[in-house]
């Protein structure tokens, strides 16, 4: 569904990604793991069109989407749930969610989708009229994911969903991610610091180190790989 080839991304003089290549097949959950500054978020931003790559190619559903702006990709079913949640703090929960469906003109489908995400995250349904900035960190993360789902994506790029969230909430968020993948066939590219948890729910994984992919394998194989265990799983 997503395929990137020899992707190089630079911020000014600093190269963040060096010719990386990776593939996410339809219906898969794929995890990118790696330390701080490895280029995980940059990869997602490049795919969703938030930053322009210096060179390389990004394919989405078989077509070249290199340099296509983010708002056009959302319309094609690629949704990015950015790191640090980035909810619209001065808008209500309801408005945040409706903004997620900004490109959807059919009111009935918006209502259906709203119902769906609110059953997915019942905590949010108690707070629809509350300003998003007043939610707890975990609730904001749920909101960010729910908002990303409002555009009815076929492929979801999920950046650090567990960041700064109580372990119990992380568990419930990850359960919902798996459920989305199983029931809706949603393809997910996940970036996660908590590599253990991420590999547990993923089909495959890539290991990024200072802008290069150093390893890729099935999730189970990565989990039992001694190098990965030492570097990222804290074994």
């Amino acid at each position: 569904m997503v395929e990137i080839r020899n992707l190089t991304v630079a911020y000014g003089a600093v190269t963040a990604l060096h010719k990386i290549s990776l593939t996410v097949n339809a219906g898969e959950i794929v995890t990118l793991i790696g330390g701080n500054g490895a280029g995980k978020s940059t990869t997602l931003r490049a795919i969703s069109g938030l930053i322009r790559p210096r060179s390389g190619k990004i394919m989405y559903q078989g077509t070249d989407v290199t340099g296509v702006p983010a708002h056009e990709l959302v319309a094609r079913g690629l949704s990015h749930c950015p790191e640090g949640r980035l909810v619209f703090a001065n808008l209500t929960v309801d408005e945040n969610l409706r903004l997620g469906a900004y490109l959807q003109r059919d009111r009935k489908r918006i209502a259906e989708e709203l119902d769906f995400v609110l059953t997915l995250f019942p905590r949010l349904s108690e707070r629809t009229t509350q300003l998003a900035g007043t939610l707890s960190g975990g609730e904001q993360q749920m909101l960010a994911i729910a908002r990303a789902l409002m555009s009815q994506p076929r492929c979801l790029l999920l950046d650090e969903p567990s960041l700064g969230i109580a372990p119990l909430l992380v568990k419930s968020i990850f359960d919902q991610i798996v459920a989305l993948n199983r029931t809706r066939g949603l393809t997910i590219l996940l970036v996660e610091q908590n590599a253990n948890l991420a590999l547990e729910i993923s089909h495959r994984g890539y290991v990024l180190e200072t802008g290069r992919i150093i390893l890729s394998d099935h999730a189970a194989a990565l989990r039992s790989n001694p190098d990965v265990q030492e570097a990222y799983l804290g074994a």
């Binding site: 969703s48 938030l50 702006p69 983010a70 708002h71 959302v74 319309a75 949704s79 990015h80 749930c81 950015p82 980035l86 909810v87 619209f88 703090a89 001065n90 808008l91 209500t92 309801d94 408005e95 409706r98 903004l99 997620g100 900004y102 490109l103 009229t129 908002r147 990303a148 555009s151």
Partner: protein, 313 residues
């Protein structure tokens, strides 16, 4: 049945008409100040659309006002006068079209200025609009058939209470309706978090440009009203200080609030009139008051209520 907001607009327009009909009984000086308030309301409310609701920072509002003033003045006084007279229609009837033309010209210039600079994120807009304000001034100073630095004189005084406050009411209504629409939610999202807005599928550049051009349009209308109120315009009257004055009104009223901004405009306009007694020391008192206000109420003077109603459905 009309929606409530449109009824309010209609009542405002009728009230403006009634007051206008009896405006000859109002003292000339007082009327001049009142009409000045109306023009400032248009300027501040339209700038609020850009600086308050969409979270951009424009410092060039006086520039758009100048464009509108000169465009409108050209039609009634400058080279356009031939056409204006030849049309044979009553000036009072043509005046709204003149104002509209001024607004449209300002909007076109706004598009030319905004389109390249709004593609960038960050403070570029402030720098570009600051430069734009100065450039417009210099350009106008050097166009001989517009009066150069002497300015344009003998502009007929078509600006009545009705046109002034009618336009102000329309501006407030338009800004209100815009902010409470789907489009307006886009503005608010861009103000809140541009990256997230983009990730949600919003073409953020487009929203910023729409807000900016709309703001410029109404600044142009205000310019036309100003020209036909004072009867005289010169490039120096639309300098950086004028832009700052409008920015101060928006900040003081509370960014992204309509009512607060209107109150701030009234207060500041009256204040600056009252301070005339202090002569040259006026600006010192004015700025001291501003500093004091910013220290004690940085969120704006009039922010006791939520910025807007929540949108549902």
């Amino acid at each position: 049945m009309l929606p409530r907001s449109q009824i309010v607009l209609l009542i405002s327009l009728i009230t403006a008409g009634i007051i206008s009909a009896s405006s000859s009984r109002i003292d000339d000086y007082i009327l001049d100040v009142i009409l000045g308030i109306g023009i400032n309301i248009i300027l501040a409310v339209s700038l609020n659309l850009i600086n308050g609701f969409t979270g951009q920072f424009s410092l060039g509002h006086a520039g758009f006002m100048a464009v509108g003033a000169y465009a409108a003045g050209t039609l009634t006084t400058g080279p356009g006068k031939v056409w204006f007279d030849a049309s044979g229609a009553s000036p009072a009837l043509l005046f709204p079209f003149v104002l509209f033309a001024g607004g449209l010209t300002a909007a076109v210039v706004g598009l030319a200025v905004g389109a390249p600079s709004l593609r960038l994120k960050g403070d570029y807009l402030a720098i570009v609009t600051l430069g734009f304000g100065e450039i417009i001034k210099v350009i106008l100073q050097n166009i001989e058939w517009l009066g150069g630095s002497r300015g344009m004189v003998g502009i007929p005084s078509y600006t009545s209470f009705f046109w002034c406050f009618g336009a102000a009411a329309v501006t407030i209504y338009a800004a209100w309706a815009l902010v409470n629409s789907t489009l307006g939610r886009g503005f608010l999202a861009v103000a809140d978090d541009e990256i997230a807005a983009e990730a949600m599928g919003l073409n953020t550049t487009r929203y910023k440009i729409i807000a900016f051009v709309t703001g410029a349009f109404f600044a142009g209308i205000a310019g036309g009203l100003y020209a036909h109120l004072k009867g005289y315009i010169s490039p120096a009257g639309f300098d950086f200080n004028k832009s700052i004055e409008i920015v101060v009104m928006v900040i003081l009223g509370g960014m992204g609030r309509h009512v607060g901004v209107v109150i701030a405009v009234v207060l500041l306009t009256v204040l600056s009139e009252k301070l005339r007694d202090f002569g040259d020391k006026r600006m010192i008192v004015y700025s001291a008051l501003l500093i004091l206000l910013m220290l004690t109420r940085p969120q704006g003077l009039f922010t006791w209520k939520p910025a807007r109603k929540a949108i549902t459905g």
